[in-house]
């Protein structure tokens, strides 16, 4: 009995350590992309006048789908590189849910596999549901 408990605790702590690392690297990675994009953006258009941020343009400004962001980013467009970093930043906590799911599967915790799947599906509806309205 004692052995089972300590084994379970170990798995719990391992996955927690891993999630901690994953969050840290996600934030680090995204901020490096954002930094790179920001530097290029300032070099290219730093001396231009500021866009009219008091007016909301929204979707017409472009860069609102992952495909569009990706294609413009590999074409080295600075604003798209920044948005790519933004996507990585948003993806970081979502990826964390996936890793938690793996952790609960390893622990064979059925209740929490179910709960994590519910959270994941809410996320997926939000991402792919076309909730632009």
């Amino acid at each position: 009995m004692k052995k089972i408990i300590s084994k379970k605790l170990l798995a719990d702590q391992d996955i927690e350590q891993f999630i901690g690392l994953q969050l840290r690297f996600g934030v680090l990675f995204s901020s490096l992309i954002v930094l790179a994009g920001g530097v290029v953006y300032l070099l290219q258009s730093g001396s231009l006048a500021l866009p009219q941020y008091q007016l909301f343009i929204g979707e017409r400004a472009g860069l609102t789908t992952s495909r569009e962001i990706w294609h413009s980013a590999i074409a080295f467009k600075p604003r798209a590189i920044i948005e790519l970093g933004v996507v990585v930043l948003i993806a970081t906590p979502i990826l964390r849910i996936f890793f938690s799911l793996i952790g609960f599967i390893l622990e064979k915790d059925r209740l929490y596999i179910g709960i994590t799947l519910i959270v994941l599906s809410v996320m997926m509806i939000s991402i792919f549901g076309g909730l632009k309205v």
């Binding site: 901020s31 953006y41 231009l48 008091q54 343009i57 929204g58 938690s100």
Partner: protein, 277 residues
Amino acid sequence: MTILTFSLLLLAGAYLAGLVGSLTGLGGGVVIIPLLTLVFHVDIRYAIGAALLASIANSSGAASAYVKEGITNIRLGMFLEIATTVGAVVGALIAVYTPTNTIAILFGSILLFSAAMTLRKKNEEALLVGSTFANRLKLNNSYPTKEGEVSYHLRNVGAGFSIMTIAGIFSGLLGIGSGALKVLAMDSTMHIPFKVSTTTSNFMIGVTAAASAVVYLQRGYMDAGIAFPVVLGVLGGALTGSKLLPKMDVRVLKYIFCSAIAFVAVEMIFNGYNHKF
């Protein structure tokens, strides 16, 4: 103003927002929105997009440290994330139909509430007997303190879950972490020791913000020119804050900051009431 001056000024402002946000526990998002709207006259929708990113960066950065220390209750976080993510998506959806002035007034009110919550007495006592529901959901846990592991139990899970849904809606609608509402649900309602509730709340903010962030990203709320100084500045500020926090007494700072926040909140409400957004 050129793009370069705007970026540098915003970077400095976001750094301060991240620093004070992490020292007081309010998070960077609540400072970013008034900074962008009242100081830089940016449309509140861009400000909400930027604040969401600030919340994710702040939460993920800080959570990585807390999770390692084993204070965060991951099961509790995951269970309550059902409520906050559903709420966040609903909040992001109703945001389109909500006039910006109403959003500004709501934001001001939440800001006042958050300031008051920061100053209240904290729950440090661990509950010894929890409800059967909390038992069945395996929400009871223990956390490390100076005196060794302390185990705690939960009650009022249903009520806490409901408050979390409201916290999620506000988070999606206003682009903030609504940490104050989350702590109210966990601390005051479910009787969780505040160290566990604040770290677990912080852990959840990233996922909650991400749920509405994907909706806002697709709607063009996240402008690259605003996002990059905000993300980098808030992250830098939060990093400095986490280094300074163990070394300083933040009580005085909290009072100063909360009075400043209350002042800003009243200005947001006033401007919203006069249709200036």
